[in-house]
C-alpha cells in the first residue's frame, strides 16, 4: 500500500487533489481511497487530505499516520504545521515552491531521504501560466507522477479531465504535464548540485 498525505489551505483544492489522485489510480485498475482530514474547512485554514493506493481492497480507515509521500501545496505552512510528522523512512516529499530545499532551510531533512526523493516545483506559477489562477493541485499531481511513479501522467490527465470539463480541464492537464517534465528534468540532473 502506498499512502499519500497532502497539505494545503482551504480553497487550494487539497481534497480535490486527493480525489483526483485516487481516480488516476482507479483508472489504472488499482484500489484507491481518498478522504479529507475531517474538520470544518474554511478558506485559508490548514487542510489535510489523504490518498491510499493498493492492488487489493483497502479496508483500513485510520488517518494516514506514516505517509510514503507528502505533497505540500502551500509552503507558508512550513512554519505553522508539523508537515513532515510520520513520514516513512525512504519516503517522498513534493513541495510547491520556486525555491530549493536549501533555500528553505530544509537541506538537513531532505538529506535523510534517498536521492531523488524530494523535489520542489513552482506549481502555483505553473498554474498561473496555464490556468490563469494560482491553484497548484493539478500541477502537483503531474509532478507526483514523475516523482513517485505510482500513477502515470496520462492517468493523472484523465482524472483531471474527469473533474474539470473543457478548457479548464485542458489547461490543468497542460499544467500537470509542465510540472511533470520539470520534475523529470530535475531528477535527471545531478542531485543537489
Amino acid at each position: 500500500m502506498f499512502q499519500v498525505r497532502i497539505h494545503g489551505r482551504g480553497g487550494q483544492g487539497v481534497v480535490s487533489a486527493a480525489e483526483m489522485l485516487s481516480v488516476a489510480a482507479f483508472d489504472e485498475g488499482r484500489h484507491a481511497q481518498a478522504f479529507p482530514s475531517f474538520g470544518s474547512e474554511r478558506m485559508g485554514a490548514p487542510v489535510i487530505a489523504f490518498c491510499r493506493i493498493d492492488d487489493r481492497e483497502i479496508r483500513l480507515r485510520e488517518p494516514v499516520m506514516n505517509p510514503d509521500a507528502l505533497i505540500v501545496q502551500d509552503p507558508t505552512l512550513l512554519h505553522q504545521v508539523d508537515l513532515f510528522n510520520g513520514l516513512a523512512p525512504g519516503g517522498f516529499i513534493l513541495l510547491n515552491s520556486s525555491r530549493s530545499f536549501e533555500e528553505l532551510g530544509l537541506a538537513d531533512l531532505v538529506g535523510t531521504l534517498p536521492a531523488a526523493h524530494a523535489v520542489t516545483v513552482p506549481a502555483s506559477e505553473i498554474a498561473m501560466q496555464h490556468v490563469g489562477r494560482p491553484l497548484p493541485n493539478a500541477a502537483l499531481l503531474g509532478a507526483f507522477a514523475a516523482l513517485c511513479g505510482q500513477v502515470a501522467l496520462d492517468s493523472v490527465a484523465m482524472a483531471i479531465r474527469d473533474r474539470f470539463a473543457g478548457r479548464t480541464g485542458e489547461a490543468n492537464v497542460a499544467a500537470a504535464r509542465d510540472a511533470h517534465d520539470r520534475v523529470r528534468t530535475q531528477m535527471a540532473a545531478p542531485a543537489h548540485a
Binding site: S22, F26, A32, A34, F35, P36, R59, L60, R61, M65
Partner: protein, 419 residues
C-alpha cells in the same frame, strides 16, 4: 459499473436506482452530500417521477416523508447528529404508523459540546424507536444496503435506517460497483402500500388509541422486528444471487472459527479491525471479528452462535451509554446468557477520535493477556481528565469544562513548540 466516487454519491445513486417518489431534506449541517446529489438528479431530470421537497427543518423532513409514505409514495430522507434528535418525535411516529420510509444516518456525535465528527451517538439515541437499523461496513455495502432497505421496509411496512459512518465513509472516495437499473428493478418491486390515504376510500391513520389497544400495537412493532430476523438474511441472500456480492445480513464473521478472542464491531471500524486481526493471526494469535450489520432487530441467536466458543469477547462501541457503558454490549451479554466468558466493553472513537491500528493492536494484546477491564475507554487521555478534575476541585465557579480542556491542550502544545 465500477466508479471511483464519494460514499455520499454512491448512496445517492443507489437511492435513485430505487425509484423514490418523494425525497425530503433539510439541506444544512449536519446534512451530507447524499441529498445534494439526489436534488441535482431530480433537477436535471436524471431521476424522474420523484419530488424533491426542501423543508424547513429535520422535524419537517421526516414529517413530510411520513405524509408522503402514508399517501403511498416511496419516501426517503437523510440526516445525522442533532438532525435526528430534532426529528425524534417523527422517528417514533413513522415506526408507530408502520410506514416503510428509508432514512440514511451519516453517523455523527451529538453535542454539547458542538462536534461534527463521527461516532454512533445519533442513531443509538433512537435505537428503540421501532426502526430497523442496519450499519454499513464499506461504501459498497452502504450503497447496497439502501437497495435491500427499501425491499425490507416495504415487505414489513416498517421504517429502516441505514447507518453510515459520517466522514469516514460518507466523505471517502473509493471504488464502488454501481448496480444497473435493470438489476435493481428486478430485485425491488414497485411499492405496494399496506395502508394508503385515499380520498376515494378514506381511512384514519394515527388516531388516539387508549390502554385497550396501545399495548398490542406496540407489541406488533416488536413482532415485525422478529420477522425481520428471518427476512434480513433472506434478502441478503437474494441480493448476493442477483448482484454477485455479499452485503447486509444479520452478522458476518471473519476468522472466528478457532478464535479465543472475538471482537464485535459495527460499521466502518470493521475494516481497520480486520487488518489488525490479520496481522495478529500472522503472529499466531487466535482472534477474529464479528460484524454486526443489523442492530435492530438485535440478532441474539446469530450473535450467540458466533461467540459461544470464544474465551473472551471485546465489544467496540462508538457511543457511550453515560452511567452504564455500552449499548451494543447489552445485547451481546443478553445473547450470551448462561455462557461464561470474559466480556469487555471498549468505548472508542467518540467525537471523531481516530481509531488506529496501533491502539487496537495494543488493546487486543491486552485482552489476550487478560488485562482488560469490564469497561475501557480507548485512547482516553487520562492526564487531561485528571487535570480537569483537579481544576474543578479548586473553585466552585470553575467555568465550562470543554473550553478549559481546550485551553489546557493549547498551552501544552505551545509549551512543546517553545521547548
Amino acid at each position: 459499473m465500477l466508479k471511483q466516487i464519494e460514499g455520499s454519491r454512491a448512496i445517492a445513486e443507489a437511492v435513485a436506482l430505487c425509484r423514490p417518489e418523494v425525497i425530503c431534506a433539510y439541506p444544512i449541517t449536519p446534512q451530507t452530500h447524499i441529498v445534494e446529489g439526489l436534488g441535482e438528479m431530480v433537477k436535471s431530470g436524471a431521476l424522474t417521477r420523484c419530488e424533491f421537497i426542501n423543508v424547513e427543518s429535520e422535524f419537517a423532513a421526516l414529517s413530510v416523508a411520513i405524509g408522503a409514505s402514508a399517501a403511498g409514495a416511496r419516501s426517503y430522507t437523510a440526516t445525522a447528529s442533532q438532525g435526528i434528535l430534532f426529528m425524534a418525535e417523527a422517528v417514533y411516529n413513522a415506526a408507530g404508523l408502520g410506514l416503510p420510509i428509508v432514512m440514511t444516518i451519516g453517523n455523527r456525535a451529538i453535542g454539547a459540546p458542538i462536534n461534527i465528527w463521527n461516532d454512533h451517538s445519533d442513531s443509538m439515541a433512537l435505537r428503540d424507536a421501532g426502526w430497523i437499523q442496519l450499519y454499513a461496513e464499506t461504501n459498497q455495502e452502504a450503497a447496497d444496503l439502501h437497495i435491500q432497505a427499501f425491499k425490507l421496509a416495504e415487505a414489513l411496512s416498517c421504517p429502516v435506517m441505514v447507518c453510515v459512518d459520517g466522514f469516514i465513509l460518507t466523505h471517502a472516495v473509493e471504488r464502488i460497483d454501481v448496480p444497473t437499473q435493470a438489476d435493481v428493478d428486478a430485485y425491488l418491486p414497485p411499492f405496494e402500500p399496506v395502508q394508503i390515504l385515499d380520498v376515494d376510500d378514506p381511512v384514519s391513520i394515527g388516531a388516539m388509541v387508549g390502554p385497550e389497544a396501545f399495548f398490542e400495537v406496540r407489541y406488533l412493532q416488536h413482532h415485525k422486528q422478529e420477522r425481520a430476523l428471518e427476512m434480513i438474511p433472506a434478502l441478503a441472500a437474494e441480493f448476493e444471487a442477483r448482484f454477485g456480492r455479499v452485503a447486509g445480513g444479520l452478522v458476518r464473521t471473519y476468522r472466528t472459527d478457532d478464535a479465543e478472542t472475538i471482537v464485535v464491531a459495527l460499521g466502518s471500524l470493521n475494516g481497520t479491525v480486520k487488518d489488525v486481526v490479520d496481522a495478529m493471526r500472522d503472529k499466531g494469535d487466535r482472534i477474529g471479528v464479528l460484524t454486526l450489520c443489523s442492530f435492530r432487530p438485535f440478532p441474539l441467536a446469530a450473535v450467540r452462535a458466533a461467540l459461544a466458543n470464544a474465551k473472551r469477547v471485546v465489544v467496540l462501541e462508538k457511543s457511550l451509554a453515560v452511567g452504564l457503558g455500552g449499548m451494543v454490549s447489552d445485547g451481546v451479554r443478553k445473547a450470551l446468557s448462561g455462557i461464561v466468558l470474559a466480556g469487555h466493553t471498549v468505548i472508542c472513537g467518540l467525537g471523531g477520535r481516530a481509531i488506529t491500528r496501533a491502539s487496537l493492536t495494543n488493546l487486543f494484546q491486552r485482552a489476550q493477556r487478560n488485562e482488560l477491564g469490564v469497561l475501557e475507554f480507548l485512547d482516553l487521555n487520562h492526564a487531561v481528565v485528571d487535570r480537569e478534575l483537579a481544576r474543578l476541585a479548586q473553585a466552585r465557579r470553575a467555568g465550562p469544562t470543554a473550553e478549559a480542556i481546550l485551553r489546557g491542550l493549547a498551552s501544552a502544545a505551545a509549551g512543546a513548540r517553545s521547548a
